[in-house]
Every structure is written in structure tokens, then in C-alpha cells.
């Protein structure tokens, strides 16, 4: 948590430096810029890929960029880590505003609508020649999330879902069959009782992140915002306080009343992870992108963990929504740079690279072939947790609810939802909290729409 915060501050410093540098460049008389020469007319072209993945994930992106550059005669792609997702988005905005955008920028899922509305990016589906790509071989639920108004605007890159991990040893100890993980909210409540009776501090934990609430809306096949979850025009109203929302927050409240949930800070992934590793909470809700570190951490702490589908009210899951980020190609750059960016994206989404990405990071591959190949190689037999994640994704019913909400002020919405969890923890009533949340979100939506209208 703290490292993310610190980088945000260093970002403020860096923005200053970048702005100054850009200013200096601009006054020095715009170097390079809007040349119309295509890729085949130039000898070499260099582009940057801005992303917000740190640590092992960031290194994997860098190694992909290097491998691509090595096999290409003309194109060099350099992966540049810009800090967190939010910082990457900010840096991209600043760069686009000043007319010096990167070749490719990774934008997190909640920035999708903002990026789209900016009109500063090339719609990917139009930019890629039809004969060079077979969209039918892409994973449908992943494409669906990023396809708005029928068009794919960015290339899906790192896609993940919410998943449940549980401590098998704890289940056995509490007399629960480790092969029947909880499926419904009621199961979670019952299992928590049993686990706590067996001496465990809590039943369950998860980062206080709006993402899980969004997943539970999808799981109940309920829309989070109107206008078909924002996929049929700008949303003007949220349904956070309707039945689906009440069900979710009453569940949270019941867990809190029983002291069955280890409450974590807002978006405190590390805290939830620690709670699971220290065996305080034998069930944790997490992201599929962290399956490997979670299993490893469990092994390091001498217990066996398994993955299972995210529990939902009633136990019948309509689907899960995608999280993560996608790759956007800014419009305002040279023809050669833009074509180079497209070349890289085509290479990146080849089944081979996608298999590698999937295996090394846990993010979903975007290509069906990658999954088929890995199945043949026996990868999923050795890594059943990855199979669980894929099964959950592929079982998705295709509705606007499971495709996920498209909201402009998504970060605002996320903060409000996370704060609602805090208010519930402080003892406020679900109805009141959600009514307040609705007011705040609706105001943010109204303001966003007001700012977009020309």
C-alpha cells in the first residue's frame, strides 16, 4: 500500500520535470513530429510502451518488448514503467495534451471510457488491416469488455478476474470438505462460523476494493449503472442502492456483525494477502493475476491452498467482469510510429506470446489457441488453479451486466463504493449508506456528462 502511495508522490515530482522538459522541447521548436512517412519508407523507428506494471510483471513486459525488437529489423520498442495505473494514465494524458504521446500506452480498465471519450486514440479495430488478424480466435469475454458500441478501441492486454482462494488444511480441520468450497453468500457465512469455531480468527478477507462489488453485480446479472451499464450511451444513474447492492452490503454487514471478516484498508491487497498467509482468514478473495504468488505464499506458510469460483448470492454465478488493462495507440503521432505500434500489438497477441504471458503472469491470454496449446501441453493439469480461473471466465453468460460497466468517472465511483464498506464497518445502516453512495455517484456522472457535452 505504502509503496504505491510513495510512487504517486514521486509522480508529482516527475510530472513537473516532464512538463518542464516538454515545455523546453516545444520552445526549442518542435523536433520531429508529424511526418507522414509510413513504416516501409523509414530505416528505423523507435516507440515507447508506457505501462503501470511493476516488479515481475514489469520485467515480463520489458522482456516481451526486447524480444520483439530483436526479431524486427526496423522497429525498436522500449517498455517504460510509469508507476501505478493511475500515474500511467496521468502521464499519457499529459503527453497527449502536449502533443508528444508514446507509441503505445497501457490504460487500466476503469480508464477505458475516459480514454475513449477523449478521442485521442486510434480505434484498434479500424487501425489493424482485416486480413492481418482473426478476431474470431480471440477470447470472447475479454473482447466483450473492451468492445463498446460494437467497436474494439484498444487491444486487451492484461486481463484478470476476481477469484476465491482457500486454505484446504483449515477446511479439513473445521470439518469442511476441502473439495466443496463455498459457492453462495450463505455458504460463506456458514463456513466462517465453522472455521471460527475451529479456532480461526476470521472466516474470510478481501481487499476493500469496489472491484469485488462490481463482480457481485455481474454475478447477479444486475446492472451497476443505467443505459445498459453505460454500453448504450453515457450512464446518468447508478443502481448501487437497488436489490443487488443491498444484498451485497447486507452480506458484508452480516460478516462484520459476526466478526467473521478481517477488514482491510481501501484497496489494500497486501493486507488481505497477509491475512490469508498468516492463516487468520482461511478464505480470501483475490485476483486471478496473483494465483501463482498466492499458491507459493501458502506453501511457504505450510498450508495447501486451492482456487475456486467467486462466491455469489444464491450460488449461481451469471459471470464475472474483466479487470486489468488494455493497450491504446495515441492518434497524434507519426505514421511510421503508429504502424510500428500496430506491428508490435499484432506480434504481442500471437498465440505463442500470449501463452508465455499467461503462464508467467496469470493474466488471461487473449487467444483461444494459447489455451488449446497449453491444454495439450498439460499445463492446466499441473496448474489446476489456472483452469478454475478460465472455467469461471468461459462460463460467463454474455449480458451487459457481465460485460461490465462503462463509466467515465469510474475512480470516483470506486472511491465511493469503498467508502461505503467503511461506513458499514462503522455501524451505519445499509440503506442509508447506499442512498448516500447513489447521490454521490449520480452527481459525479452528471458532472462527467456535462463536461463531455460539446
Amino acid at each position: 500500500m505504502s509503496s504505491y502511495r510513495q510512487t504517486r508522490r514521486s509522480f508529482v515530482r516527475r510530472t513537473g520535470a516532464t512538463t518542464a522538459a516538454i515545455g523546453a522541447l516545444a520552445t526549442a521548436g518542435c523536433l520531429g513530429g508529424d511526418d507522414e512517412e509510413g513504416l516501409d519508407e523509414v530505416d528505423s523507428v523507435e516507440i515507447e510502451l508506457w505501462h503501470g506494471l511493476s516488479g515481475d510483471l514489469g520485467e515480463e513486459v520489458s522482456s516481451l518488448a526486447e524480444d520483439f525488437s530483436d526479431q524486427s529489423d526496423t522497429i525498436t520498442v522500449e517498455a517504460v514503467e510509469q508507476g501505478s495505473y493511475r500515474e500511467t494514465m496521468n502521464q499519457t494524458i499529459n503527453a497527449v495534451r502536449s502533443g508528444e504521446p508514446p507509441g503505445i500506452s497501457q490504460i487500466f480498465e476503469v480508464g477505458t471510457k475516459t480514454a475513449l471519450d477523449s478521442g485521442a486514440f486510434v480505434p484498434i479495430e479500424e487501425a489493424i488491416p482485416e486480413d492481418r488478424i482473426d478476431w474470431d480466435s480471440f477470447l470472447v469475454p475479454v473482447l466483450d469488455y473492451y468492445r463498446i458500441d460494437g467497436a474494439l478501441n484498444s487491444m486487451p492486454f492484461n486481463s484478470s478476474n476476481a477469484i476465491m482462494m482457500y486454505n484446504r488444511d483449515a477446511f479439513s480441520e473445521a470439518g469442511i470438505d476441502p473439495d466443496s468450497p463455498p459457492r453462495s453468500f450463505q455458504d460463506v457465512l456458514d463456513y466462517s462460523d465453522q472455521l471460527m469455531d475451529a479456532g480461526y480468527e476470521y472466516g474470510i478477507t478481501w481487499p476493500n476494493h469496489s472491484w469485488f462489488v462490481e463482480q457481485w453485480f455481474a454475478g447477479q446479472d444486475s446492472l451497476l449503472v443505467n443505459n445498459d451499464n453505460g454500453r448504450d450511451g453515457d450512464p446518468t444513474e447508478t443502481f448501487i442502492n437497488e436489490e443487488a447492492g443491498t444484498t451485497i452490503f447486507e452480506f458484508i454487514q452480516e460478516l462484520m456483525d459476526k466478526d467473521a471478516v478481517l477488514s482491510t484498508g481501501i484497496e489494500a491487497w497486501g493486507e488481505a494477502q497477509q491475512g490469508f498467509f498468516t492463516q487468520e482468514a482461511p478464505i480470501v478473495l483475490y485476483s486471478t493475476s496473483s494465483i501463482n504468488p498466492m499458491l507459493q505464499g501458502a506453501a511457504d506458510n505450510d498450508f495447501e491452498a486451492s482456487a475456486a469460483r467467486l462466491p455469489v448470492p444464491g450460488g449461481e454465478q451469471a459471470g464475472v467482469t474483466i479487470g486489468g488493462g488494455s493497450l491504446w495507440v495515441p492518434d497524434e503521432q507519426g505514421q511510421a510510429e503508429e504502424e510500428a505500434a500496430i506491428e508490435f500489438l499484432l506480434w504481442l497477441t500471437e498465440p505463442e506470446q500470449q501463452s508465455r504471458w499467461h503462464q508467467n503472469t496469470g493474466y488471461f491470454p487473449v487467444r483461444e489457441e494459447s489455451i488449446e496449446n497449453l491444454t495439450e501441453e498439460g499445463f492446466y493439469d499441473e496448474n489446476p488453479a489456472f483452469r478454475v480461473a478460465l472455467d469461471q471466465l468461459e462460463a460467463d453468460q454474455d449480458t451487459s451486466a457481465t460485460r461490465g460497466a462503462v463509466v467515465g468517472p469510474f475512480l470516483d465511483l470506486r472511491t465511493t463504493v469503498a467508502e461505503s464498506y467503511v461506513a458499514i464497518a462503522d455501524g451505519d445502516s445499509v440503506d442509508e449508506v447506499l442512498a448516500d453512495a447513489k447521490d454521490e455517484i449520480d452527481e459525479a456522472l452528471e458532472d462527467y456528462n456535462e463536461r463531455q457535452s460539446e
Binding site: R5, R8, R9, I93, S118, G265, V422, R451
Partner: protein, 301 residues
């Protein structure tokens, strides 16, 4: 004599302008120009890449917004608590440091230490010390409460008033060192004879502090009140950011933090520009009032 000769070196106006130019350039480019652009931006509705003139839209939205009103209230409350708290506490500590005869420098260094920490580090240190479940301080407070039969939850991550208390304590603690340096220096400037006379007359310590020292060091105190106000309104940002992120439920969402969130997380530059302008005016007016009011009581020897 030395003052005069220093002036004579710079009789050449051109040379003076030339020497000032780098400074002026930096000030204009990094201070005045952004300030003017912020002023302009506050009248625009901004989206990711475009901006559109919107008159007073941002300001109207600002003053009708419940979360902004809350933020204003929190900021004034926080400002008052931090300024009053750090001034009073520093005054007592300084007086004790001034009165003590042995190990003075060790006490002084110990008291000034927090000031040597960057605010972010100060925030992190107290975050760990006061962490609701694992913090050593919360543990002892809870143990102490148990003696009196109280079951203190102390979860300031969910309780607004508690969170406000925690960030206030951190902000006050962080500022102590700075105030103490100035106060001890001011006290050392006061002639011993006055103190000796007061002691001979049998005046109590508290009375000596408030009736003799405070009036005599008032210019320093005025200066510190102004600096502490600026600190409470602006420089406490890292503490808020690290410890509470403005939460829970906006209980610690001071104006400077709110405008950062609106600008860089919600990508609403126009709205944030309007907020920063209002904040600037608020602090400006506050400063003016403080200087006018305290000037009447300040005694400049």
C-alpha cells in the same frame, strides 16, 4: 558601514537586472504562469484532452457540493487544532527546555528530532505506531483502557473522529521541532534580569510563561502562527495521503488533498483549479486577519 558598501556594488541597474533575471525567470515560469493558467482553467470545463469555457460552473458546483462543504469544515477544524495544538505544546516544551539546567542540548535535540523527518516518513512512523491492530501505541492505550474496564476498539480506519484525531496528533508532533527551535531561540534572547526579578517577586512558573515570556516573544509567535497555518493547510498533505487518504467518509479530506484527488485521480482539472483558487484565497484572507489581529498584540521591542 558594511551595509553602505554592499549597496554601492550594485549601483549599476543593468547589472542588477541581469543578476535577478534567472530568479525572475524561474519565478515567472514555475509560479506566476502556472498560477495565471490555474486561474484561467478554473473557468473551463475540462475533459481528457479538451477544454471548454464554462463561466462560473466550477465555482457553483463547488459551493453546492456537500463533499466540498464538508472538506471546508474539516480543513478549518484541522487547521485550528493543528495550529493551536502545536503552538501550545511547543510553548510548554520550549519553556521546560529553557528552564532546565542539565543536559540541555540532549533534550533540545530529542525535541527537535521529528522536524528532521520528511512528512512522509513521519506519517509512516505514526501509521505503524498507531495501526489499529498491530500498533504498539494502540496496544498500550488499549491495555490502559482495559485497566479501567474499557474496551477500546480504536479502529480509526473506520471511525471518522478517531481518524481526525490521529492525523491531528501526527501533524502536531511533526511540527513541534520547528516551533521549538524558534521559541527556544526567542526565549534565550530575553534578558535574564527580568526573569530574576519575577522569581524574586515569587511569581509562579505558569504566570512567568504567559505574563512575561509570551508577550516578550510575541513577534516570533506571530511568525510561527502564520507558518503553522500554512503548514496545516498545505504541508500536511503527505500525512493525510499516507495515513487516511482523506477517509473514512471524508473525515480527514482537507482541501489540498481533495483538490489533488479531483485533479489527478478524477481527471477534472477545471474543477480542481477552481478549488485551488478558493484555497489560495482562504489562506490569503486568513493570513491577513492573523497578521492584523496579532499585530495589535505583538510587541516588537
Amino acid at each position: 558601514m558594511s551595509e553602505q558598501s554592499a549597496r554601492e556594488v550594485f549601483t549599476n541597474n543593468k547589472e542588477a537586472v541581469l543578476l535577478l533575471l534567472p530568479t525572475l525567470l524561474v519565478i515567472v515560469v514555475f509560479l506566476y504562469w502556472p498560477a495565471i493558467d490555474t486561474f484561467r482553467l478554473s473557468f473551463f470545463q475540462t475533459s481528457l484532452t479538451s477544454e471548454r469555457f464554462a463561466g462560473t460552473y466550477n465555482y457553483i458546483r463547488l459551493f453546492t457540493s456537500g463533499s466540498y462543504q464538508n472538506s471546508l469544515l474539516v480543513t478549518f477544524g484541522f487547521g485550528f487544532v493543528v495550529v493551536a495544538g502545536s503552538m501550545l505544546l511547543s510553548l510548554f516544551i520550549s519553556f521546560m527546555l529553557y528552564e532546565v539546567d542539565r543536559f540541555t542540548s540532549i533534550y533540545l535535540i530529542t525535541a527537535i528530532w521529528p522536524y528532521a523527518l520528511p512528512p512522509a516518513v513521519a506519517g509512516l512512523v505514526l501509521l505503524f505506531l498507531l495501526q489499529p491492530d498491530l500498533g504498539i501505541l494502540t496496544y498500550w492505550i488499549r491495555s490502559l483502557g482495559a485497566v479501567f474496564g474499557l474496551d477500546l476498539g480504536l479502529d480509526w480506519r473506520t471511525s471518522g473522529p478517531l481518524a481526525f484525531t490521529v492525523v491531528s496528533i501526527t501533524a502536531i508532533w511533526k511540527q513541534l521541532g520547528y516551533n521549538i527551535i524558534f521559541m527556544v531561540a526567542a526565549m534565550n534572547n530575553i534578558p535574564n534580569t527580568i526573569d530574576e526579578a519575577a522569581q524574586l517577586d515569587g511569581i509562579s512558573r505558569t504566570n512567568r510563561l504567559f505574563k512575561i515570556y509570551v508577550p516578550l516573544m510575541s513577534p516570533t509567535l506571530v511568525f510561527l502562527v502564520v507558518i503553522n497555518t500554512i503548514y496545516a493547510f498545505f504541508a500536511t498533505f503527505p500525512i493525510i495521503d499516507l495515513m487516511t487518504s482523506g477517509g473514512p467518509g471524508g473525515a480527514t479530506n482537507i482541501l489540498i488533498y481533495k483538490l489533488f484527488i479531483d485533479a489527478f485521480e478524477n481527471f477534472n482539472l477545471g474543477y480542481a483549479a477552481a478549488q485551488s483558487l478558493v484555497l489560495f484565497l482562504v489562506v490569503g484572507v486568513l493570513m491577513y486577519i492573523q497578521l492584523r489581529v496579532t499585530d495589535r498584540y505583538a510587541h516588537y521591542g
